[in-house]
Assembly symmetry: C2
Homo-oligomer: 745 residues x 2
Amino acid sequence: MLIRKYTILVYLLIVSFSPLFGQHQLTLTNEEEKEIKQGETVELFSNSVKAAEKKLAPYLEKGVDVPTPKDLAGGYTHSQHKKNYFLMQKAGVLFQITGNEAYAEFIKNTLEKYSAQYKNWDRHPSKKSYARGKIFWQCLNDANWLVYTSQAYGSIYSWLSPKERKKLNNELFRPMADFLSVETPRFFNRLHNHSTWANAGVGMIGLVMEDEDLVQKALYGLPITDEKVKDNDGGSITKEGQKEAGFLAQIDHSFSPDGYYTEGPYYQRYAMYPFLIFALALENQQPSLEIFKYREGVLLKAVDALLQQTNASGEFFPLNDAQKGMSYYSRELQLSLALGYYYGKQDKGLLGLIKEQQRVPLNYAGYIAARDINKGLAQPFKKHSIYFSDGPKGDKGGIGVLRSDEVELIMKFSQHGMGHGHFDRLSYSLNFGKEEVLQDYGAARYVNIHQKDGGGYLKENKTWAKQTIAHNTVVVGKRSQFKGNVKKADSISPEEYIFSTDKENVQVVSAKESNAYQEVDLHRTLVLIKDSSFENPLVLDLFNVQLDTAQLLQLPYHYHGQLMFSSVDLQRATTLKPLGEKDGYQHLWNVAEGEVKGAFNQINWFDKHRFYTLNMATTEGESITLAELGANDPHFNLRRDPSIILNKQGQKGDNWMVSILETHGSYSTVTEASKNTYSTIKDVFISFQNNEYITVNFTNKQNEEWTFILSTVDNSDVKEHQLSLKDRVIKWDGPFVLFKNEIDQ
Amino acid sequence: MLIRKYTILVYLLIVSFSPLFGQHQLTLTNEEEKEIKQGETVELFSNSVKAAEKKLAPYLEKGVDVPTPKDLAGGYTHSQHKKNYFLMQKAGVLFQITGNEAYAEFIKNTLEKYSAQYKNWDRHPSKKSYARGKIFWQCLNDANWLVYTSQAYGSIYSWLSPKERKKLNNELFRPMADFLSVETPRFFNRLHNHSTWANAGVGMIGLVMEDEDLVQKALYGLPITDEKVKDNDGGSITKEGQKEAGFLAQIDHSFSPDGYYTEGPYYQRYAMYPFLIFALALENQQPSLEIFKYREGVLLKAVDALLQQTNASGEFFPLNDAQKGMSYYSRELQLSLALGYYYGKQDKGLLGLIKEQQRVPLNYAGYIAARDINKGLAQPFKKHSIYFSDGPKGDKGGIGVLRSDEVELIMKFSQHGMGHGHFDRLSYSLNFGKEEVLQDYGAARYVNIHQKDGGGYLKENKTWAKQTIAHNTVVVGKRSQFKGNVKKADSISPEEYIFSTDKENVQVVSAKESNAYQEVDLHRTLVLIKDSSFENPLVLDLFNVQLDTAQLLQLPYHYHGQLMFSSVDLQRATTLKPLGEKDGYQHLWNVAEGEVKGAFNQINWFDKHRFYTLNMATTEGESITLAELGANDPHFNLRRDPSIILNKQGQKGDNWMVSILETHGSYSTVTEASKNTYSTIKDVFISFQNNEYITVNFTNKQNEEWTFILSTVDNSDVKEHQLSLKDRVIKWDGPFVLFKNEIDQ
C-alpha cells in the first residue's frame, strides 16, 4: 500500500505542472468540447442535449429558488436544492457544448444566491443523522450537491471574472469543502458509499479551484482517529483497524478485484456515480494518474459486475437491502455505461444497453457511444455464468451466478455487506426468464413513498427482511445467523468451495460457512444440470448441516404462485398463528403442516405460465410447513408472500437436505392448454455418503438415472478420485462428477 | 313467435328447390372456392393455409388412430378424438382450396375407421354426465365432433362415390345425428350452449346429406316434454314454461337484443362457434333464410358485444364462471371476427383485431378480411361506454360498461346466468389501463390443469366464487343473495335505472334490485366523473339499502396490492380466524378491524405503479374489516387475495353508503420518484337526502367543491327537477345532475 501512495505522489508532482491542470472543466475538456462542436451531429447525443435544454428552459430567465434549509427528504427545501444542483450541472455542460452564455449566467446567479446565504446556515435543524448537513438533513446530500455543482462551476470557471471566482471560492466552495471534510471528519473518513460522495465532491471542487490541499484530502482522507460511533442506519463508522481513508481507500475497500461491491448491486448502482465522475475528472485533469487502470481497472470491472448482476428485465438482483425493480435503466447507470464503453474494452453489448436507454451523458464518452451506435455497432448485451469474489483481496467469499437457457441462479456467500447486509449466507435465489421462482425478499422499504414511514427503512426491514428465515437458506434452531449481530457477521465471511462453469451441462457453485452458528458447519452445493431429457435446466441442491448437538433445521423456499399438488398431506390450520416470536418467525403465519411419508416427496406449484416442482429426498420425521407473511405487521408493511419450509430434526453429525427443483410445462389462459404440469422427476435419493463423499441419484419417468458425486473435503480441480459404488469403480478428476447411468442399472 | 316459424317454413319450401342446395360444402361454396383459387395471393390467408398444411402433414400418409372411447377429458382417447375432428375439418378446407386429393383421402380413411366402429360403441363408460356421449364422456363433445366433422364431410361429399356416401350416411352420420337428437332428447332440446352444438351438428350434417328431417329438428328441436332433470353442473335442463327448442330457439333465448349472452362473455366466446358455423352453413346453403339478419342481426351484434366486453389486454370481463385471461386472441374468436367483418358492417376495427391474431379462418370471410388487411384497411378496434340489456326481450336487467380515459367500470345487474351465474347483483369491477383495480374473482377453477380436480370446477367455486361476498356489492345479514338459490335467482332479474353516457364528464349507470333479499331494496348508482381538477376519472358510488328491519350491511372491495394508509385505525389480529361459517365468509381470514372516526375516512393502497384511495362518507358505528382469502381451503384452491369490507349496522329505512374511488399518482422503482401518493379528495358527504333525492358533495385539496344530485324515484330523461339547497334553487332535467359549486361556497 505504501508503494502505491508514493507512486501517486510522484504522479501528482508531475501532474501539477502539466498544461492540462490549467483547465477547470471536469468532465469535458477543451479538446473534447471542440471535437464535439466540430464533429458530425449524432442523433442520440443531440437528442440528449435537446432534452437537457428543455429541462433548463423554464429557469433560464426566472432562475431558481434557494430556500433556507428546513425540510427532510420529500419536503420542499430538500427537493428544491436537489433540483438546483441537477439543473446547474446540466447548464454547465450545455454552456460548454452550445456556447450559450445564458447557461453560464444561470449557474453564476444560482451560485451567488447560495454564496450569499451559505455562511449564515448552521447545520440542518433535523437531528436524524449522525452527520447533519447544512443544505440538507444529512451530509450525504450536501456532498451530492457539491459533486454536481463542482461540475457546473468547472464549466464556467474560466468564463467568470477573477473577482467572481475568488468570491465564490472563498465564500462558498472552500467553506463547503472544509465543512464536509475537516468539520465532519467522521463522515469524511468513513469507508462507506456516502463518504465517497464527500471525497469526490471535495476533490472535484479542489480540481476546479486548483486547490491541491483539497485534492490531497479527497484522495487520501484526513488523519485517522479511533472513534467508535454508529451511523443512523446501524453500521459502524470506523472499520476495525482502518488505516486509510479518502477516495483511493474507498476504491480499495469498496470493490473486490472482480468489481463486486460488498453492499450489493442496488447500492452499487447509486455508489458508482461519485466513483466514476471523480475518476473522469481525474482522468481529464490528472491523466498520468491513470485512475481507470487503478487496481487493474477495478472501476471499469465494477461496471461490468453491476450489469452482470441483473435479471432478464435488467433489474438488479435484490441482494441485501435493495428495492426490487431498480434496473440498469436507472439514470445513475448512464455514466457507467458510457465510461464503461469508452474507457473500457469498447464492448458493443454496452452500446446495446445505451441504445435501449435512449440517452447518453453529455460528455465525450457519451458522444463516442452515441456516434458508434449511429454506426450500427450496438449489439445485445450478453450475460453468462460468473463468479464475483468479495473483499478487497477477493478472499471474503462471493456471489456465484449460474446461467443456463432461461434459468438464472444466484448463490450468496459474500461478506455481510455492512449496515445493509442480510443474514443470508448460502442462500440462493432463482429466476426463470423474467420471473422470480425463488425470491430474495429485498428490503422492507418503499423508497420515497411518504405513507411508509417517509420512504425510509421500515421496522420490518430489520425484523423480517434481514433475518435468515426470510432467505432461501437453512435456519438452525430458529435463530438467525450470528444471532442477528451485524458486527460479528461483518468480521468473517463464508468460503467459496467450488465455482465451475466450464461444462454447460453441469455447472456447480458450492460454499461453506462455519461461523454463522456456533459449532455448526454449513455446506451447500447447487448444481445446474442441463440435459436433453428435461425441458429446462434442473437445480440440484445438496445442503449439509454438520451439528455437534441435535437442533431443529429449517430450509425455507420463498416461492410465488399457487400450490398445485403436494405428496405431503398438508393439513391447513383452522386458525392462523405466528410461527415464532423473533428472528423473523413472528411475521410468518403457520398456514399448513404435514409430515413427510416415504423417502421421496414432491411439492408442485404454478406461477404465471409455468409449473415448478420441488423434488425432495426425505427421511422419516421431516415435515413441511407452509407459511405466509403478514403476522405482527401492524402497519401492513410486508407483502403477503408465501413460503414452503422443510423441517428436519438435525442430529449430531451430517444432516443432508437434498432436492431437485424442476421448472416444467406451460399453461395458457387463452388456449387453456396445459403441458407437463407434473415433474418429470420420479425419484431423488442419497445413494452413498461418508466423510469424504456424497452421491445423489435421480431418475425420471422414462426410467433414466443420473448420479452426481461430490467430494465434500477436497475441492482441487486436478485431484483424482475413485469410488466404488454398487460393485462399480468410478474414477474422475476434480471435486464433482455427474453421469448418466447405464440402462441396466 | 308463430309468425316467425311460418315465415321460415315458407323460406324452407323455396330454399329446398334452390340450386345452391345441390352443393354440399358447408363453409366454402363452389363460387367462393373458385374466386379464392383464381384471386390474388393474400399473405394472411396463404399463411393460414400453410399453417393448416403443416398441421396435417404428419398424418397424411400414416393417418390417425381412432381408439375405443374410454377416457375422460385430458386422457388419451378423449384427446385423440378431439384431435381427429380438428384435423379432418382442416383437411376439408385444404382439399377445397388446394385441390390436393390426399386431404380428401385422409378424411375418407378416417371416417371409414369411425364408421366401422361406431355401431359397436355404447354410451361412454363414465357416468359423470347426465347426457353421456359415445365418443366422449358427454354428448357435448360428441356434438363438437359432429360440428367439425360435418364440415369435412361436406368438403368431400361430391368427391366420394355414391356408394361411399351412402355407407357413411347410413352407418355413421345418420345414426350419430339420431343419437344426439331423438336418443338424447333432454340434451338436444335444452336451451343451453352445450345443446347448441348438438343442434348445429345435426343441422349441418343434415345439410350435407340433404336430410331435411334433420335440418328441421336442428332448427326447431324435438317436441317439448316436461321433465325436471338437473345437469351435472347444477343447472336445470328444461326452462320453466319452455315452449321451443332447436337452433332458432337457442338464438332467441341465448342473446339479448344487444347481443349479450346471459352466461357472460367467457362462455359466449365458446358458445359463438356453433352459432356462427351453422349460420354460415345456412347462409351458404339456404341464403334466403337470411340467418345473419335474424332478430335484427343479433348474431353479428353478439360478436360486437363480445369484443366490447374485454379489457385493455383483450381479456374478457370475468363475469360469472370465467377463467381470467381468456381473451379475443382465443382460437374460437377467429371465426367471429371474420364473419363479423364480412357479414356485418365491415368495421375496420375488426380488421385491426384480425391482423393482431395473425391468422384467418379458411373460408371466404377469412379471405376477404385478409385481402382488406393487405389493402391497409385495418384500424385499431375502438371500445366505448356501452349498455347491454339482458334477456331475450332486453328487459331483464343488463351490464353497464363506463369508459373514460384509462378507467373502465363494469356494473352487473343482469339475469343470474343460469348454472354458471354468480350471486353478484349490483356489483361492479374496475380496471385502469391493463390493471384490475377492483376485481371480480372469476371462477375457482384451473381449466385443464389435472392437479386441480382434473381441471373441472372446484368445490370453492360454489362455496366462494359464486357467493355475494366474493363480489363488490353489499351483503345483507351475512347471507348471499337469494340465499344462494339458483332457481330463485334465475326467475327474476334486477332493473336498469339509469344508463347515461352522453356527457363525457359525467357518465352514470344505476340499477335497482328488490328480490335478492326479502323486504330489502337495493339501489346502486355509479358515476364516472371526468374533471380537469383530477388526474383520472373518479368513481362516485351511491349505494342505498332500504330495510324493513335492522340488519348488518357489508360492502366489500376486492382490491390488489399493498395497503399504504388508512385514516381508520386498523387493529391487526394476532391470530387469524375465519370471518364466518358459510356463504363465502368461511374462506375469509379476519385480518384487521377498526371503527371509523368522523364523517370522512380514507383507505389508500398501492398496486404496480399507481395509488388508489377509497374516500368514504362514514357515520358513527361503521367499521372496516380487512380480509384475506384462504381459510377453509384444504387444497389451496383459492388465491390469496385481499379485500376491504365496510361494515354498517343498517336501520329500518334508507341506508346510504357513499364513496369516491380515486386513481392517482405514480411510482417508478427505476427513478424511485413518487407523485401524488395521497388522494386529492378532502371530503365526501351527503348534503341532503329525502324520499326523492340524494345530494352528495365532495371537495378537493384546492377547496373546489362539486355537488351530485340523484333522483331516486324518477328516471325519466326529460322530467324537470327543482331542489332548494342552502337557499339556492337548483333546476335540472333528467334523473341526475353534477355541478361545480361557486367559489364562495
